[in-house]
Symmetry: C2
Amino acid sequence: MASSIHDLARHLNISIGTVSRALNGRADVNADTRQRVLEAARTLNYSPNQSGRSLRQGATHSIAFMLQPHPGDQQYGEPFFIPFLIGLQARLAESGLDLIVVMGAPGDYQQERLRRVVETRRADAVLLAWTRREDERIDYLTQTGFPFATLGRSRSGAKSYPSLDLDFEKAGADAVDRLVARGHRRIAAVRPSLDLNFGYLFLAGYRKALRRHGIEIDPELIASGFINEAGGYEVTPQVMRSKAPPTAIIFNNDAMALGGCKALAEMGIRPGHDMAVTVIVDTPLCRYFSPALTAFRPALEPMGQRLAEMLLASIPAFAGPEGPRILREVWPLELVARDSD
Amino acid sequence: MASSIHDLARHLNISIGTVSRALNGRADVNADTRQRVLEAARTLNYSPNQSGRSLRQGATHSIAFMLQPHPGDQQYGEPFFIPFLIGLQARLAESGLDLIVVMGAPGDYQQERLRRVVETRRADAVLLAWTRREDERIDYLTQTGFPFATLGRSRSGAKSYPSLDLDFEKAGADAVDRLVARGHRRIAAVRPSLDLNFGYLFLAGYRKALRRHGIEIDPELIASGFINEAGGYEVTPQVMRSKAPPTAIIFNNDAMALGGCKALAEMGIRPGHDMAVTVIVDTPLCRYFSPALTAFRPALEPMGQRLAEMLLASIPAFAGPEGPRILREVWPLELVARDSD
DNA sequence: CGTTTTTCCGTAAACGTTTACGAGAACACA
DNA sequence: TGTGTTCTCGTAAACGTTTACGGAAAAACG
């Protein structure tokens, strides 16, 4: 059914070696024969068998994005990832690489699936997201020497892998600055439980800014829950029950903000009127919520492209002769002022 | 670095054939040698090279889910898909298959990427979603004989492929019935443009139910736009400007509902008070929106599992000796009554 | 015209598996 | 003891590529 390189060779009465060289654009093949080979490839509808070339070359020409679920999260936080993946895939396609997204069941941390990808050599490199403070996936990969990069920083590993992250610390501080400038002094922070690194970074910025403004940090105004709607819904009442309730809340995430706003609504508190609300990572939800939520916007698609480049440079088989590998980059989040604060 | 079957053979002083047979659980191998092989595999940290076995067996042991973007949609409708994919992946894993998600750039209809997957034999079968009324992808696949299944129906193809769909027609009718029972007579419908099949089905049910209630269908109350927040936001004012504005709106999708509710809010119309709002496909957004949106809920995870089974049965290499292949199934959507109508 | 270089192509090995085939050894049976 | 059966394993081919190597023909050069 599917035509192989042998079919082409037989059809043209030349050897398979020549066919392969012609298709791969090698120099030592006559311009005329190459023409004929390419033409035959088109008419016979030939395209190379991936397993064959992977086996021979020891490279799969694909990279794996590990889509990691969190306990209590049925959505994988993907409204965030999709635009990122679009950029990633576009850049990879330029270099002839495929992007495969590897999913796991919620609750397992993919150590198993990651092992599987690495050991069966299903991809030439993997891309990790939602890095944790201490991330065993990173330890595993550095230890095995398998090429990888991360979306997000971590304290794990030899710090010698490419990573791209957003400046959550500055965003957290900027959010506080803005709220303080608008007269708020009691500002709450709702962040993910677990040791997701961006939660730490956000909180660090939040703390630093408060301290800079001479505002004492009230632990009662800091809450953490599942990084989804349910988490925000569950946890927001906690900060509202504090002895001196906040006049502003910063949510780490759009889903948590949605849940939090629901909890507020049930208490008769209207975001944008009775309570200032800020979200760190902007999504379409923030824009179309009523009131529209002030948020910090990442440049997701360019980030995807950039991380693709960084990843490519770290794969021996694809790294060009260019200079040194790019390592850590931290990109800014841009404030989008809307109606909720 | 990575150990191959040859390493095992050398280490145990037996032939690679025996090693392979032992690992694959064939009968013609001594129980003792099998034990030794499995042990050596563990200590030498062996796992089979995928490219090797794919090449030999002519099967990749993976199936491809084509994540198809729509023009104007940066989010791919994924809050819908993720739970589905979780179920799908779980069932596939049981049979030793990997799920790979193939993405494309928004705006292209993946005919190209689909070709690529099929022709390079990167997967043993593909899974299509967001089927269109006339779907060239289905035509292509039936024509080439490549195994596939679809999430959603279509008029294309020989109708001899497995498909699983939701009963959007009944949901549309049920939504109308419920609203009529609550006293509404002027009911609007906001659905996707393009010829996405579920948009047609929904509208068919809507029409049928209105007719059954003796309510004349007003074309001014039917609008279509991009299947995302922007689409709902843009299109909802249209139906509101009709000569006799609606007292209820049914949205085909959570994102469109979000955009639509924003448009309503800007007109000073409060969902649940001044306007009944119903959504066909339930998501966490519907639940945590204020007011919580009445919606029709699909059993996404079981659907994923079921479609995995249907797909498996259609792959010659994996189809068990069971009876006839399962073809079309239509699953119900369950009403979740909340506060918006 | 003889020698060297270049151009082009065929041969064959290799990547890591699986599996059809056959053969030796052990055993059962008459 | 001879014959047939069963158990176990080794041999080698095959899957579809890529590529190192060498060689024939053509071109260049003296």
